[in-house]
């Protein structure tokens, strides 16, 4: 792999000389776009919404686990809007005035307007996350909001408003839900829904956990709560869903699920499902057609190398090493290291986190939102990790571990992932209680931006300042026979000597949902020769498109030879 964007290397060199020249002199000389991401403050973006955790003396566990966020184009104007999830009324919390989620419409000039009230998506329960998907194939993205209590399905009416159709759809999924994933598990062309359930919890079941010399009350380790089964809902195609978890084997093993990602891990044309659990083993559900086999142990993704369950939280799946097989990433808690599971092509994986420097970099960190994406459009999938310890007393208990933690950025050199956080600007030394994280190009410049939701604080919007300096092509996939969002599609493209394959996975990250468009990085190449879409079943169509433009977004509709 070559043709890497060179600005980062230039910057590394510059940092190397900083000691000799004096850092302040160099900093003064740096152009404003020197680092890959810059924060867009609320005063500029207009996103003044803030998450309220409702932190209490009783330390109810849900207070420390949210929130999630999403990039979505709810009004189909071609610009990414933003949805933010808040806490709210439940059995242990009654905020006054009530809290609400936030929907921000993209004004197409770098600013956003709060349209929550008009759109009717304020929710009001104790929110956790959000999953976006066009479940009814009407072309407009719908919203599924997960909460502690029961969840909400907002149907997008296509006129800037939504309707709560939870009851009719049968998707309330009572309990404590965390991440949710839209994907077509039975290849019938409709998006089904997997909903992670965390633990058996209620105000009455909340435990009193104390630690330290002064026995301060803190957030309990989830080990103390009973695991529970997650949900899989089959889309009946008429606006209703059927709980098929038990029938297909998903609801068999009880977990404590935080993150989930759907992808075809064994290249058999069926979407499998990986679920990251906290303090119990992770699950890898392999889709055998009419049932799922949970093979996490045999696959080597259930435990750490010492055979102990870790605290799996954020997850993602991508073919980061371009060998044609989808790999896995799981963020864990401090002293556990995060896992990068490389696919061995035989339904087993090896944790190669140490080989890529990820193990060392994350030894004391706790990770939530995360995503593989090509931030510099050089054609290689990089990795962004949003972090923060869930325990606000952690600093008094474990020296070296911080409650608020900076994000990490790993650049994919083509052969390995390299931690470039230290040379990527001040944002990567800013401590945050990051939770959800979504990727999306809000300014349509072809560079993936980042949205981070922060526990009990304002969200962080990061503008990507360097991706647009390479060439790119953005694609919206529209399924006709296959599911409308093209979840599960494989996109292969060639640009001169560069051939890459990307997979559109279902879900990934933590409590969050991403820009549905696929960005193809071309580095400095001036043209793209072809793009081949392998649509998910039932069509399984392989569609090659040529005569493509670059540096713009296009739409490819399943079965239509000409792009739009």
């Amino acid at each position: 792999m070559n043709g890497c964007f060179t600005r980062r290397h230039f910057l590394c060199g510059l940092v190397g000389t900083a000691g000799a020249l004096g850092l302040h002199q160099i900093a003064g000389a740096l152009p404003a776009f020197a680092y890959p991401f810059e924060e867009v403050p609320p005063t500029v973006s207009g996103i003044t919404w803030k998450h309220t955790a409702g932190k209490s003396l009783e330390k109810y566990l849900p207070e420390t686990t949210g929130p999630g966020c999403a990039f979505l184009d709810y009004d189909k104007d071609g610009w990414m809007d933003i949805y933010l999830v808040n806490s709210g009324k439940c059995d242990f919390y009654s905020p006054n005035p009530p809290l609400r989620n936030g929907l921000y419409r993209n004004n197409r000039n770098g600013t956003f307007s709060d349209v929550t009230g008009k759109a009717g998506v304020a929710a009001g329960g104790y929110g956790q996350g959000v999953a976006v998907g066009d479940y009814d194939g009407d072309g407009f993205p719908d919203l599924y909001v997960t909460q502690y209590g029961h969840n909400i399905l907002y149907h997008n009416n296509g006129d800037g408003t939504f309707t709560d159709v939870t009851e009719k759809a049968g998707l309330a999924a009572p309990g404590w839900s965390s991440s949710a994933v839209w994907f077509d598990y039975d290849n019938d062309g409709r998006l089904d829904l997997f909903v992670c359930q965390f633990v058996e919890f209620s105000k009455e079941k909340s435990k009193d956990c104390r630690s330290g010399e002064d026995a301060k009350r803190g957030y309990c380790i989830p080990h103390l709560y009973k695991p529970t089964a997650s949900w899989l809902f089959h889309n009946n195609g008429d606006g209703t869903f059927t709980d098929v978890g038990k029938q297909v084997g998903i609801a068999g093993p009880r977990g404590k699920a935080w993150g989930a990602v759907a992808a075809d891990f064994n290249n058999d044309g069926r979407m499998d499902l990986f679920v990251a659990n906290d303090t119990v083993r992770n699950f890898l559900f392999m889709n055998r057609g009419n049932r799922f086999d949970e093979i996490g142990e045999q696959a080597g993704v259930a435990y750490g190398a010492d055979g102990r369950p870790r605290s799996g939280m954020g997850v993602d799946a991508a073919d980061f090493n371009q060998d044609g097989w989808v790999d896995l990433f799981v963020a864990n808690i401090d002293h556990e290291m995060y896992s990068l599971y490389q696919n061995n092509h035989d339904e087993t994986f090896d944790d190669v986190a140490l080989q890529h420097g990820i193990g060392q970099a994350t030894r004391l960190m706790s990770g939530w939102g995360l995503k593989f994406f090509d931030y510099d459009n050089d054609g290689n999938l990089d990795l962004f990790l949003a972090n923060g310890n869930p325990d606000d007393l952690i600093e008094s208990l474990h020296p070296g571990v911080s409650y608020r933690e900076p994000a990490l950025l790993f650049h994919n050199t083509g052969t390995r992932l390299e931690n470039i956080s230290a040379t990527s600007g001040p944002f990567f030394s800013k401590p945050l209680s990051a939770r959800g994280m979504a990727i999306g190009d809000f300014d349509n410049d072809g560079a993936s931006d980042v949205l981070i939701s922060v526990n009990d604080d304002n969200p962080v919007l990061l503008r990507n300042t360097i991706g647009a300096q390479n060439h790119w092509l953005g694609i919206t996939l529209v399924g006709r026979k296959s599911n409308p969002d093209g979840v599960g599609a494989r996109i292969t493209y060639q640009s001169g000597d560069l051939i890459r394959t990307l997979t559109k996975v279902g879900g990934g990250s933590y409590l969050s949902s991403h820009d549905p468009r696929v960005l193809l990085g071309l580095s400095n190449r001036q043209r793209i020769d072809w793009v081949e879409i392998r649509w998910p079943k039932p069509s399984g169509l392989v569609q090659r498109v040529t005569n493509l433009p670059i540096d713009r977004y296009i739409t490819i509709v399943e079965g239509e030879q000409k792009w739009k």
Binding site: K205, K207, D208, C209, C220, H223, L224, Y225, K226, P227, V280, R281, E297, Q298, G300, Y303, A305, D306, G307, R308, P309, T348, D350, L354, Q355, P399, G400
Partner: protein
């Protein structure tokens, strides 16, 4: 200890005392409680074994230990502790008393060492160990270095120094290298130190230097055939090298030596699974699962 035991044996073989043993024991206990240990000890020694009542026997034994410790009669204390633990092996009172008594005896021996040979390397070594336990890492390090200055070839000190370096909080970037040098030096002095080989193996494993890890861990396992962790580390290294078949034997040994170690079962299950022994793998996974899946109870914490 021997003195008291022989006295006890003599008491067992001799004719029963004409006096009431229960009354004698009670008298000894009363004397002990009132601080008259010198008078109490001979009475307790004679009567404790002859008492039929279990409760009184226990009380007499405990009073003997207390008095022996108070009057610094270490032989008597040790003999009484041994007797008590044999007669009442699961008694919390006996176990509690034993903990304190052994600790007290240990402290007295340490004081004796400090008094009689304060500059001996053994005194420095003991001091270093105590400082290490207290987390006074730098002071402990100086003590170990003092031992080496005095006697550079003492076995065990470089090993302890290396271990100390690895235990220090907030260590420097080169701590692993420094520790490694200490373990290598230890092996020069004492090539049979399985612990040093083991830690060198683990350090290599952490750095993904699999060949080196296998070398050290194999040697550690050979030097100490009961070293379960060495076999486990060896098996884990071989798994990391994708030498699954080769990993089976050391992991089976690890499981045999440490059947309660979930990591051993998990890694053996992985090795079986990757070599196609699905049934064996499932059996080991099941054992591992049982060990790691203990459900929380409803009771509040």
């Amino acid at each position: 200890m021997l003195a008291l035991l022989s006295e006890i044996s003599l008491a067992q073989n001799s004719k029963p005392s004409t006096a009431d043993p229960a009354a004698s024991a009670q008298k000894g206990i009363t004397l002990a409680e009132s601080g008259h240990c010198r008078q109490a000890l001979p009475v307790l020694k004679k009567s404790a074994l002859l008492v039929a009542d279990k409760n009184l026997k226990l009380k007499a034994g405990l009073a003997t230990v207390r008095c022996a410790i108070t009057s610094d009669n270490r032989d008597a204390a040790l003999a009484a502790l041994q007797w008590l633990n044999r007669e009442f092996p699961t008694s919390p009172e006996v176990l509690y008393m034993s903990t304190h008594a052994y600790s007290d005896l240990s402290t007295r021996a340490a004081q004796e060492l400090a008094r009689t040979a304060p500059h001996s390397y053994q005194a420095h070594e003991l001091n270093a160990e105590a400082l290490e336990i207290q987390g006074k890492w730098d002071q402990a390090q100086k003590e170990y270095e003092a031992v080496l200055k005095q006697n550079p070839e003492v076995p065990g000190i470089h090993f302890r120094l290396g271990r100390l370096l690895l235990s220090k909080p907030n260590p420097g970037a080169d701590v692993a290298e420094q520790a490694k040098k200490e373990f290598v030096e230890e092996l020069r002095i004492d090539p049979r130190n399985a612990g040093a080989e083991y830690i060198l193996g683990e350090l290599a494993r952490e750095n993904q230097q699999w060949d080196e890890a296998v070398e050290h861990l194999s040697r550690a396992a050979k030097l100490d055939v009961s070293f379960g962790d060495a076999y486990l580390g060896l098996g884990q290294s071989l798994i990391s090298m994708k030498k699954f078949s080769a990993a089976i034997e050391p992991l089976e040994t690890a499981v045999r030596l440490e059947p309660q170690n979930p990591a051993a079962h998990y890694n053996l299950a992985t090795a079986y699974s990757r070599t196609g022994r699905k049934q064996d793998a499932e059996k080991e996974f099941a054992i591992h699962r049982q060990m790691t899946q203990k459900e929380p109870q409803d009771a509040p914490q």
